[in-house]
């Protein structure tokens, strides 16, 4: 399974984990997405009805924890983190509105099309999430 993140996700995530109250986000994401099979990641609230590629809102860190928005592209067995927000604490809020959901979907599509994405992995101690620019292989390297 390949895991990517949009730049907006990275910014939001890194801003949040600076706050001690949201440090759990790294562990939750590693446990729920980096250590599991692709099919396991397909849970939560599916926001886009019958569509084959699910756009998912997932509760992480328990009820009062955070909400993670991700897109799964089935044929590629790839997931794309698009947004995260906590429910409580200084940066917390209840929900995002439908226009924001539409924007997330539009932005992740543009990011996939332009390759403007970051690969998500974690450190060897499995404590920190790492965002890497996908390696661009030049035609010279292939030849």
């Amino acid at each position: 399974m390949k895991i990517f993140a949009t730049l907006e996700f990275k910014d939001e995530f890194e801003k949040l984990i600076k706050n001690k109250s949201y440090k759990y986000l790294s562990k939750e994401i590693i446990t729920n997405y980096l250590d599991v099979s692709f099919s396991t990641t397909l849970s939560g609230t599916k926001l886009n009805g019958n569509s084959p590629n699910p756009f998912i809102k997932k509760r992480i860190g328990g009820s009062n924890g955070s909400r993670l928005y991700l897109l799964a592209v089935i044929v590629e067995e790839a997931i794309y983190f698009t947004f995260v927000h906590p429910k409580s604490g200084t940066s917390g809020y209840d929900n995002i509105n439908d226009d924001k959901k539409a924007k997330l979907l539009k932005d992740v599509y543009e990011s996939i099309k332009t390759g403007n994405l970051l690969e998500v992995s974690c450190c060897s101690e499995r404590r920190t999430i790492l965002f890497n620019s996908p390696k661009v292989v030049s035609i010279e390297e292939i030849v």
Binding site: T45, K46, L47, N50, S51, D98, L105, K106, V108
Partner: protein, 153 residues
């Protein structure tokens, strides 16, 4: 005469204190405390039962959003609309219950009462999500347009 009256008074006072002392045993104290603790336990248990029920409903709502055959089925959509309506009524009813609990029993069931509020907030959110998925987002043209592109990937 005065001395006799005093003696009676002293004896009565002695009897009264003795009776009270006899009644107020360790067992009677324990019984009162145990009855109170039982009631506290019952209240905590009742709150936990409500939370378990609502947690289960939230999970069922999430699973409903993965069903592929609902979107174009009028009867299912009508039932979903009823589910959303009745859950909102239930949420409101429980919010009033929670306000009463928080006002009167916070000192004896603080954690359970706080957790019940979180569960109720979750129920409210899950109900809104259900409405968004089946009734609001299908009418949101920006969302539908972006979703159409996403499905072409």
């Amino acid at each position: 005469m005065e001395c006799l009256a005093s003696n009676i008074n002293i004896r009565d006072t002695f009897s009264e204190i003795s009776r009270y002392s006899y009644k107020f045993t360790k067992e009677s104290q324990d019984q009162i405390i145990n009855t109170f603790l039982d009631q506290v336990n019952n209240l905590q248990k009742e709150i936990r039962t409500h939370r378990e029920f609502f947690d289960n409903i939230v999970e069922r709502f999430e699973k409903l959003t993965w069903a592929n055959d609902i979107e174009n089925d009028e009867a299912s959509l009508n039932t979903l609309n009823d589910i959303i309506g009745i859950t909102r009524q239930l949420h409101l009813k429980f919010l009033k219950y929670w306000i009463e609990l928080n006002k009167n029993f916070k000192s004896v069931a603080k954690t359970e009462i706080s957790l019940l509020k979180i569960t109720l907030d979750d129920l409210k959110e899950a109900t809104q999500d259900l409405e968004d998925v089946f009734f609001n987002l299908p009418k949101n043209s920006d969302f539908q347009e972006a979703n159409k592109k996403i499905q072409s990937l």
